[in-house]
């Protein structure tokens, strides 16, 4: 690294890595305690929805929230601007 490096703009890739990891780790940790049938449930629900609306798989969020003593299954779908 010499004088030239001062003018060469390299993007700080470590900060990108850190941000990506923070998000994916948080997401995977929240899925960790959830029931085993969740991935299948998610897939089947997605299939049903796609019979009517063409949604992106990434637009489907499914969560299990624990609130004192009971669990709430939360399912949200972001519909596209123009439904088919």
């Amino acid at each position: 690294m010499g004088l030239l490096a001062l003018f060469r703009r390299t993007p700080p890739s470590a900060s990108v890595a850190k941000e990506r990891l923070r998000i994916i780790v948080a997401q995977e940790r929240s899925a960790r305690g959830s029931p085993d049938y969740m991935p299948l449930l998610r897939r089947e629900l997605l299939e049903v929805i796609r019979k009517y609306v063409n949604v992106d798989p990434a637009a489907v969020q499914i969560n299990v929230e624990r609130e004192d003593g009971h669990e709430v299954l939360e399912f949200s779908v972001a519909l596209p601007d123009k439904a088919r």
Binding site: M1, G2, L3, L4, A5, T10, P12, S13, A14, S15, A17, K18, R20, L21, R22, I24, V25, E28, R29, R32
Partner: protein, 270 residues
């Protein structure tokens, strides 16, 4: 009181075996009786790193299946009196390792007065990795400062918190420690590599060691001498520090900052 420590990571090639060998040597050099066990059934390698590959007669699976005694299978290290190696078998039968069998071997080592049992886990999250961590009191999670290694080690943390004896019994769980390997202070300073603080923050673990990237690791494995025994190397010093911290000593982190450059070196490059 025997402590069982698993060296694990999820991802392959991050330095589990190198770390197992060096930590085992470091503890044994301090006079502790140590058994280091290769759990990578079918892909034995700890023997090579320890330099005892030609002395393997019986292995872990032989002991479990009652084909020999534990004493016959334990290979006594030629350098350190109190260090013993138990090699993995080369069998392709993954079911050769059973929970009951592993427990029997551990019970015998405990009865024999061993201070530490170091379990060198295979990569992945299959049976071998599961059994390596199941009975552990503590875990050394080996991580490279790189996205896939960090993510995989978080999976392992999830397993440590749920699929271990300590987790099942609910008595405090497994104590987890982070050990970073292949660390390059120079690349961290230029923003190309995740820093110790970054990885610590993402995984939420205490740091037991930071091992710098070095050619000494390859030379050591070439020679079959655990790298901690190469006193000239920073890697050896870093592992020695990690061993001290495992034993409860407070040692400041070394090899995490780039050596300061002089004025001319900064202008003209070095």
């Amino acid at each position: 009181m025997t402590e069982i420590i698993v060296v694990t990571s999820g991802k392959g090639g991050v330095g589990k075996t190198t770390t197992s060998a060096s930590i085992a040597c470091g503890l044994a050099r301090r006079g502790k009786r140590v058994a280091v066990i290769d759990f990578d059934i079918g892909l034995r390698n700890l023997d090579l790193i320890m330099g005892c590959e030609r002395r393997v007669v019986y292995d872990f699976v032989n002991v479990i299946q009652g084909e020999c005694t534990l004493k016959q299978a334990l290979i006594k290290d030629k350098r350190i009196e109190t260090l013993f190696v138990l090699a993995a078998s080369q069998t392709r039968d993954k079911d050769a390792l059973t929970s009951e069998g592993v427990r029997r071997v551990f019970d015998e080592l405990i009865a024999d007065g061993f201070d530490f049992i170091i379990c060198d886990s295979p990569a992945g999250i299959e049976k071998g990795a599961h059994l390596a961590m199941y009975f552990a009191d503590r875990a050394v999670v080996v991580v490279n400062p790189e996205v896939s290694s960090v993510r995989d080690s978080d999976r392992i943390l999830g397993l440590l918190a749920s699929k271990t004896k300590r987790a099942e019994e609910g008595n405090g769980g497994v104590r987890e420690h982070l050990l970073l390997t292949r660390y390059s202070p120079r690349r961290v300073s230029t923003g190309e590599m995740l820093s110790v603080a970054d990885v610590k923050e993402i995984l939420g673990l205490d740091v037991v060691g930071v091992v710098p990237e070095s050619t000494d690791v390859l030379s050591a494995s070439n020679a079959g001498v655990p790298v901690i025994l190469n006193e000239e190397s920073d890697v050896s010093r870093a592992y020695e520090d990690a061993v001290a911290r495992l034993m409860g000593e407070t040692v400041p982190l070394r090899f995490v900052d780039e050596p300061k450059k002089g004025f001319f070196a900064r202008i003209f490059g070095a």
